[in-house]
Symmetry: C2
Subunit: 332 residues, 2 copies
């Protein structure tokens, strides 16, 4: 149906090895023949079968990217960074979505391995490195993105969550806030831990003793922030600064505060984390910690390209920790 290299060779009246050479720009083909072959190939709308090439070359010029949630405000821009970088280098990206589901993540990893991708970038939900790495050939380049499991010797790229939380809370303190509360979620234990650490660190630096009563955990949703802050305010407690573990929660917090008649930021300052696109909207104007999502993707892809270019024995484990950025808007 679709023409193969042999069809082109037949039409050109020449051996198909020569056609292969001409098509791949190798030496040892006369200029004349090369042009003729190229012309005929174009005429026939010939496209090389990457599957067959991959079988011979043991490389498919393809990498897999596994992310937990394509519909989140976070991962798509990361994916874009990966894709742009890999595309520039001549690779295609095979994107898989795991729905925060470890079983589905494993299935994706298997599928990608079966499809002979040259490397895998993964934002894993696994807690232990073994869970993901045991299903991977040891020679397969693997880069973790934004989160990484315990006990891995592989490279990763992530954002400094401790620093980000520290920046957020230090900012609240610099605004004269002293009664500061953390509202977060256990949904992503890994980043929670780091952000809590940054929270405590900033408090101590500001001369405030961190206490567990300052920490409230719910879910990663707007509602959750809304009801938690309302519970706090209705109990008579009067915080003057809120650090929310992400922007969704922060938005709920702002609404919850305003709905009870308090003012943001005059009475209570609020700051979130992530800098999702809503945060900058005119009616929202949420202060937050910006995650360089696109750059996370790019950095991971660059590490991947390095591994791809080297033999597995020459890999160096790279840990790239990107700095987040404080974005001050109207809520603090």
């Amino acid at each position: 149906m679709t023409p193969t290299i042999k069809d082109v060779a037949r039409r050109a009246g020449i051996s198909y090895a020569t056609v292969s050479r001409a098509l791949n720009g190798k030496y040892g083909v006369s200029e004349e023949t090369r042009e003729k072959i190229l012309r005929i190939a174009r005429e026939m709308n010939y496209r090389p079968n990457a599957i067959a090439q991959g079988l011979v070359n043991r490389s498919t010029k393809t990498v897999g990217l596994v992310i937990p949630d394509i519909t989140s405000p976070f991962f798509p821009r990361v994916a874009l960074g990966v894709e742009d970088t890999m595309l520039e280098a001549g690779y295609s990206v095979f994107l898989c979505n795991t729905n925060w589901n470890l079983e589905r993540e494993k299935a994706c990893l298997d599928q990608l391995a079966r499809n002979q991708v040259d490397g895998i970038l993964v934002s894993s939900v696994a807690a232990q490195a073994r869970e993901v790495e045991k299903r991977m050939a040891p020679g397969m380049p693997l880069v973790y993105l934004s989160s990484y499991p315990e006990g891995t010797a592989r490279s990763y790229v992530r954002v400094d969550n401790v620093l980000g939380a520290d920046m957020a809370v230090s900012h609240l303190i610099s605004r004269g806030r002293r009664k500061i509360i953390f509202i977060g979620s256990v949904q992503e234990p890994y980043s929670l831990e780091d952000r809590l650490e940054g929270f405590r660190k900033a408090l101590q630096n500001g001369g405030i003793a961190p206490r567990d009563t300052m920490i409230h955990l719910g879910e990663f949703r707007e509602d959750s922030g809304y009801s938690i802050i309302q519970g706090i305010l209705k109990s008579g407690e009067r915080p003057d600064g809120i650090f929310a573990e992400n922007d969704l929660i922060a938005m709920g917090v702002v609404s919850g505060i305003r709905d009870l008649g308090f003012r943001v930021p005059e009475d209570i300052s609020v700051i979130g984390f992530d800098d999702i696109s809503i945060a900058s909207y005119r009616d929202v104007q949420l202060s937050t910690i910006h995650q360089p999502r696109y750059r996370i993707g790019r950095a991971a892809a660059e590490i991947m390209l390095e591994q791809l270019a080297r033999d597995a024995r020459e890999w160096t484990t790279q840990h790239k920790v990107l700095e987040p950025e404080l974005v001050i808007r109207g809520s603090s």
Copy 2:
């Protein structure tokens, strides 16, 4: 490095043809041998090379999905619908992102074809079917998603934009609005046309003569909606209902109105299109037309699976037009 079928055969002391049969559950292998082979394969962590299988079977159990913008509020959920459906049927999905760029779209299509995907789902930015279809083997299943080029004989799934716009504007009229304005963008000419048609239709049904002065075009951004509505109001014009071509514009419109001291919805009702997640946020509460994004993806994938199961000569062109839904919130 990674074990092949021959390694398994050698270890089992049996020909690799038999191993192939055993692994694929074919007849003609004794139960005893089969179990032994399966056990050894598992022990060796053998995984079949899908590339090699694809070469023989002429099927890679993989489809390509080409979308213009992975970071938009629209496409990721569509992609999720596609992915879930294809995964259930044993296919993997190769996702590509074109950045609304026709050249990049063509490059994606080429890449996918070279990688021998079994079919392609595409939300194309091409105006003419030839542009995308001429680079595709005629036997390659192709389904258009959410938009489709002129002159195609292929199947597509889309939302009824005329109906959606009609619903939106009829709703404004039912709220007693008579001085209604359309604010949109030329960025996506195809959907613009349909939504304008629905706009005019609803006006006529409501006994209002549509005029070109009711139509204002800018860009698909919040800013654009903001400045357009402010221009209108500052000129002294006093519309009482606004239909924005998408939610981003609508949000800008709401802000623009409020910043000039008018009330939404008391003075002016506003309705958008798409139902992006922000629209339902507590502080936004935008009335809008909901697009069944996930179902669009599912429907397209279902058509794809049908084509995949049939010979190209038995394909039937399917046009699935999904109905949008009116969502009334606080802005109208």
